[in-house]
Amino acid sequence: MDHSTHIEEIARRYPAERRFSLAILQDIQREFNYIPAEALPIVAARLDTPQAHLYALATFYKSLSLVPKGKHVVKLCDGTACHMRGAGNLLGSLSRQLRLDADGRTDDGQFSVELVNCLGSCALAPVMVVGEAYYGKVSLEQLPTLVDSYREGGENDE
């Protein structure tokens, strides 16, 4: 299935009402790891809403991204508890280890790293999430091994 057909299919999961704009964009984000440029006109036509409206949503809501994310999205929780227990140091260490660019991505497209708002697992601070997997009480020492397990050929790279 090419992108356009796939996007069309996702948009049709919901009734053609403007209130489902966000839900459709979230599903597209989940599917492609970003909102491809061709998605906006397709969804706009389906919901009979201006593209500008969808563009506004895509830039307002943090869960949506107009640029592709890495294959593995690493979320470092920067909730207060994680912040107090060293989330900033984890980010610094990851940046150095992975040589992240200004947008927090690696140039091979394998990883993107983001500092995110509280993930609600404060008792396990600091928390890191790779894809859907939660890691609690992450230490600087374990970071390299953990990251390596997601590299190509690693045990967690599917």
Binding site: F60, A81, R96, V116
Partner: protein, 597 residues
């Protein structure tokens, strides 16, 4: 013999997000395999996440902590023969604790909103029904709307999301509107960093929220409702979706509720990751598919909310209390708590306390009780410095105010607030200027940008606080922050902007010295701000254990058994990992004299 012992037993495996992170799912599977005759139940969060995964054996009432899949065989073999000692909790005196009720973390708690969590399987509606679930809804179906509202008013329940608005009053206003359709909403956009009670309730007892929402709908005359839940809370969304399906199949929601002819359609709306959407009007805009920006509230949303129709929005924890109030009566609920704040409150006790997790206590207990009795005091014997309550809208409370009762009004009088119940404990190694900078950074990222005082005020505050943390503070900065804060409080459009200065103003009020040290001496007393701090290893106290060397992210620590450990000035980023890793207090922070590399 073995199988008899197993058949009669239920193993409750905590499968909250915290325990799942510690491989609780594998523990449950291993227990399934090891004791096929016992009933293994996957429950919601027990709150003591740090010691997870937690497994409870019933009816023996034995609780195990930090259980790993490889312990399953041991647990299976022990059923009916006494506990596995090595998995029991040890209290501060190293005494083994068998029952959850005797655990110092749980003993002082009083569970109302969290009543079922950890004992029922959130995916099994029969578990909820066995625990008395949906009886309040049945009762409400036989009541007049005004009677329902009278019970809620009598209970004195106030909104648990932070604002503390009386729930009965809100419902009565919406009921009085003669405009239809009306809507009910559940605010599950829990955004305050450091608070996770709503996630826990949605994950662990979704039916209590659905029942609460259904009763709300009966009271105000709504037939449609929404549960707005953070997209990041994947498990919560999944469990609520499953619970909605089960509730509809049994007729507790849907087109003909329990044969009464009443109807209610509920659906989940996933949040888009914008903190401001926790604000009522922004949340409603988001449900409508618009940008989550708040509007001025000359007209309240109980009059004109979703699609300009009367709408009641209640927080998750508030809704979880409703079935209890209707089942037992409002007067009985009001027996718990203080004069102005009835019932219990769930707090997430996190940060530098010994025992972190989710706790539910009657309103009016003191901060000291929460932090020192339940939380077990400060980690590693350090000194308490402050507790941050109420998230980014709240403030920092110093030691001198620890005997204050925690309720809606007392903390607000002191410039903090109880808020949604996040309680982040800080010790002597936390810098209050940096804490203020952290919250302002968060808020400036999350400000929707609609009104100028909030958008620009936060940006300026952030610039000043960053300067302070990086050694560029100037005389007059503190006063400037205070003036900015006053303007923002007065002139911002919504609660986000109006309360945004609280973290700054409260830290200035209680820790002005620390601000002054940054400005006047270029010194960070807590040893946190890297530009002002340098670390030194005391060779007398150092035991050459090597922990700091392993913890150093930039490999600038040298030493071994024979050579004293040392931090090289060159390349050190002053992150403080060495100090945190040292068990012997051999690493100390000093004022940095030279520029940071």
């Amino acid at each position: 013999m073995m199988s008899d012992n197993a058949t009669s037993r239920t193993l409750l495996v905590c499968c909250g997000t915290g325990c799942l992170a510690n491989k609780a799912a594998a523990v449950a599977d291993a227990l399934d395999a090891a004791c096929p005759e016992a009933s293994v139940k996957r429950t919601g969060c027990n709150g003591f996440c740090e010691n997870g995964p937690i497994v409870k054996v019933q009816p023996d009432d034995i609780s195990y902590y930090r259980v790993k899949p490889e312990h399953a065989e041991k647990i299976a073999a022990s059923l009916g023969h006494g506990p596995v000692m090595s998995l029991l909790f040890r209290d501060a005196d190293k005494k083994l604790v068998l029952r959850q009720a005797d655990n110092p973390f749980y003993a002082p708690q009083h569970k109302v909103a969290l009543r079922n969590i950890g004992t029922i399987d959130p995916l099994a509606i029969d578990d909820y029904l066995d625990a008395g679930g949906y009886r309040a809804l049945e009762r409400a179906l036989a009541m007049e709307p005004d009677e329902i509202i009278a019970e809620v008013t009598a209970s004195g329940l106030r909104g648990r999301g932070g604002a503390g608005f009386p729930t009965g009053v809100k419902w009565a206003s919406a009921r009085a509107e003669e405009v239809f359709p009306k809507y009910v909403c559940c605010n599950g956009d829990e955004g305050d960093p450091g608070a996770f009670m709503d996630r826990s309730i949605l994950e662990g007892d979704p039916h209590s929220v659905i029942e609460g929402l259904a009763i709300t709908a009966l009271a105000i005359g709504a037939e449609q409702g929404f549960l707005y839940i953070r997209d990041e809370y994947g498990l919560a969304c999944a469990n609520v979706a499953a619970a909605l399906g089960a509730a509809e199949a049994r007729g507790y929601i849907g087109t003909n509720i329990r044969g009464s002819g009443r109807r209610l359609r509920l659906e989940i709306v996933r949040g888009g990751g914008a903190f401001v959407c926790g604000e009522s009007t922004a949340l409603m805009a988001s449900i409508e598919g618009r940008l989550g920006e708040p509007r001025a509230k000359y007209v309240r949303s109980v009059q004109r909310g979703l699609w300009d129709k009367p709408t009641v929005l209640n927080n998750v924890e508030t809704l979880a209390n409703i079935p209890v109030i209707i089942a037992q009566g409002g007067v009985r609920f009001a027996e718990i708590g203080t004069e102005g704040s009835k019932g219990t409150k769930v707090f997430s006790l996190v940060g530098k306390v010994e025992r972190t997790g989710l706790v539910e206590v009657p309103m009016g207990v003191t901060l000291r009780h929460l932090i020192f009795d339940i939380g077990g005091g400060i980690r590693r014997g350090r000194r308490f410095k402050a507790v941050q309550t109420g998230g980014p809208s709240g403030g920092c409370i110093p030691e001198g105010l620890l005997d204050l009762p925690v309720d809606f009004d007392t903390l607000t009088e002191k410039g903090a607030m109880m808020g949604s119940g996040g309680m982040i404990v800080m010790d002597e190694h936390d810098c209050m200027v940096e804490v203020a900078r952290y919250y302002v950074k968060f808020l400036s990222d999350e400000s929707c940008g609609k009104c100028t005082p909030c958008r620009e005020g936060l940006r300026q505050m952030l610039a000043i606080l960053t300067d302070l943390c990086e050694g560029r503070g100037q005389q007059g900065d503190i006063e400037l922050l205070e003036r900015l804060g006053a303007t923002m409080k007065e002139s911002s459009l919504c609660a986000l902007g109006q309360s945004a200065p609280n973290p700054v103003l409260s830290t200035i009020a209680h820790f002005r010295d620390e601000y002054a040290a940054h400005i006047e001496e270029g010194r960070c007393p807590a040893g946190v701000c890297p530009a002002l701090t340098t670390f030194v290893i005391d060779s007398e106290a150092c035991t050459s254990c090597g922990a700091c060397k392993k913890a150093c992210p930039v490999d600038v620590i040298s030493g071994d058994k024979d050579t004293p450990y040392e931090i090289a000035r060159d390349g050190c980023i002053a992150c403080g990992s060495c100090r945190e890793s040292c068990r012997f207090d051999a690493v100390s922070a000093h004022q940095r004299k030279e520029a940071l590399a």
